[in-house]
């Protein structure tokens, strides 16, 4: 559906987006992840035709952005970050205006606006000026705006930023509803959101793609080596190391750093084990043979957060 090749954008000398390549399939919800200033918004702005790429190409269906910007814009719905709308307009007037620009027929307009008002929960604010709405409602007006032409591709820049937890859940619900039929691209720096809503993730850092894959695949690849944290009393570090090393699948044992050091006679260790081997049972049996007191046993699987941090940390 969308093919992006070698997309690059320079702001004067600053390279905001650096030779990005990715594809988006029809009906996919793609999450663009990255720390602040990674180039997410710039990428989306280029996809929507708002910014001209310094080099590289964007294909949407059979169109390219250089030659058929207008056709592509007709296929797209775009919700910019924090929905910058005309403050003095009434919600209803604004949606009518958008319908007119989108060249909807006169008979189609009213039913379409009604439908969107219902979908985005705007019914009670239709006759209020946009400037007087709360941020959550503004965001919904923006969403209604983006879906006016029943777009095949919906692009959203941080759709849930600045919303309260209830509103976030609502907006996500709407996005997932739309995502069952449409192609959705959204950017975010909230990982749980990306995990919850997106089929596929592209992680960007400093203008470059550092990871690209199905959300599930990325999560699995991240949980390569799992870690087990153990706290023991009545034991010494040496004996713990010796005993636990005998277990199959354990690759490394190190004293846990920091936090829980307060208690002098507690031994805290982090056991690294081979991927896809669960050593917790063996550790428990081993401990049972000794007279150590087990205070804590806890397996940590690496989450998306770890990959994200590993990939995007400043070097």
């Amino acid at each position: 559906m969308i093919r992006v090749e070698g997309l690059t954008k320079y702001y004067h000398d600053l390279c905001a987006v650096d030779h990005i390549n990715f594809d988006v399939q029809q009906g996919e919800i793609l999450g663009l992840l990255g720390p602040n200033g990674a180039g997410k918004t710039t990428t989306l702005r280029m996809l929507t035709g708002f910014l001209r790429p310094s080099s590289g190409s964007i294909h949407v269906k059979d169109y390219t952005i250089d030659e058929h910007a207008l056709e592509i814009k007709k296929l797209l719905g775009y919700l910019p970050e924090s929905a910058p709308l005309y403050h003095e307009m009434l919600v209803y007037d604004y949606l009518t205006y958008v319908a007119n620009i989108r060249a909807l027929g006169r008979e189609e307009q009213l039913p379409r606006i009604r439908h969107l008002a219902g979908l985005c929960g705007l019914n009670e604010v239709m006759h209020q000026p946009i400037g007087e709405l709360s941020k959550g409602f503004k965001q919904r007006v923006g969403l209604a705006h983006a879906m006016m032409n029943d777009p095949e591709i919906l692009i959203m820049d941080e759709p849930t930023s600045g919303l309260d937890p209830n509103q976030i859940v609502e907006i996500r619900e709407i996005i997932r509803q739309i995502g069952t039929k449409k192609t959705v691209i959204l950017s975010t720096h909230i990982l749980s959101e990306a995990e919850a809503t997106c089929d596929r993730l592209v992680i960007i850092n400093q203008g470059k793609i550092v990871a690209d894959g199905k959300t599930q695949t990325l999560k699995e690849s991240a949980s390569g080596a799992s870690l087990v944290r153990i706290s023991l009393r009545n034991a010494t570090l040496e004996s713990v190391k010796k005993e636990l090393h005998a277990i199959d699948g354990v690759t490394d044992i190190v004293p846990a750093s920091g936090e829980r050091r307060a208690d002098e006679d507690t031994v805290n260790v982090t056991v690294t084990c081979q991927p896809s081997v669960d050593v917790r049972e063996d550790i428990y049996r081993k401990i049972k043979e000794t007279d150590w007191v087990l205070v804590e046993l806890h397996q940590e699987t690496q989450t998306l957060e770890h990959i994200f941090r590993d990939l995007t940390r400043e070097n």
Binding site: R45, T48, G49, F50, L51, R52, L70, K73, K74, L76, Y78, P80, S82, A83, P84, L85, Y86, H87, E88, M89, D93, Y97, V98, N100, I101, R102, A103, G142, H145
Partner: protein, 234 residues
């Protein structure tokens, strides 16, 4: 085309939703009305020469006030991004906003029709120069609107947009009055650039294609400038 009309409608209504329209129209009527009628009875002539003589100066600060928000506000709020990601071309946007400003200036001139009507009761009024004068006023308003639109597309600050617009309009109005210290050979050429010079011809009742062409070309230049300024932003 539908896009141009949609943008025109939105911008034109926006004037009357906010207090801008009423404030600008009141100030315009006060200034023109005051300066016209304070001297009208001294001259004791049934014509609108004084009204038209002052019009270019008045319009050169009123019109930039009308146009200053057209792009500057959008750029400042960020709604510009929303506008341009809808299926519109730069030309649609520029034309829609220009039409809104132009029609607003024309609307602003409608109440001043009461001046010739009043005068026609007081003496024998020649309607020829009046019709030509109003045609010129609309053309002048259109040209200044295009300049104001260009100024507004340069910045996200409305006050700067206003000052730039006013500076250009004032210079165009006054340029032919500041030529006395220049060599004669240059005067003819520079005089042609003056908005006041061309408007004066029209307000005397002379509809000359050169004057109409002047206002049209200033409008086109202003709009083209705005078009380029917008294109430069991506």
């Amino acid at each position: 085309m539908r896009q141009v009309i949609a943008i025109f409608k939105k911008e034109f209504t926006a004037y009357f939703v906010s207090p801008i329209a009423y404030i600008v129209i009141s100030i315009f009527l006060l200034v023109t009305g005051w300066f016209f009628f304070t001297t009208f009875f001294l001259y004791n002539q049934a014509n609108l020469r004084n009204f038209f003589a002052l019009l270019p100066i008045t319009l050169s600060f009123v019109v930039p006030a009308v146009t200053m928000r057209l792009f500057a506000e959008e750029l400042n709020v960020g709604s510009y991004e929303i506008l341009l990601t809808m299926p519109v071309t730069y030309l649609d946007v520029v034309l829609g906003k220009f039409l809104a400003a132009g029609v607003f200036v024309a609307t602003m001139l409608i109440p001043t029709l009461s001046y010739p009507i009043t005068v026609s009761f007081l003496g024998q009024l020649d309607w020829g120069p009046i019709v030509a004068g109003y045609t010129g006023a609309v053309l002048l308003g259109a040209a200044f609107s295009a300049i104001g639109l260009f100024a507004s597309s340069l910045t996200r600050n409305q006050i700067i947009a206003f000052i730039i617009g006013m500076a250009i309009c004032f210079s165009l109005t006054l340029i032919d009055k500041m030529l006395f210290f220049l060599p004669k050979t240059l005067i003819g050429f520079l005089e042609y650039l003056g908005a006041d010079f061309h408007f004066e011809n029209l307000s005397k009742g002379v509809i000359d294609s050169r004057d109409i062409l002047y206002f049209l070309s200033v409008s086109v230049l202003g709009l083209y400038g705005a078009y380029l300024a917008l294109q430069e932003k991506n």
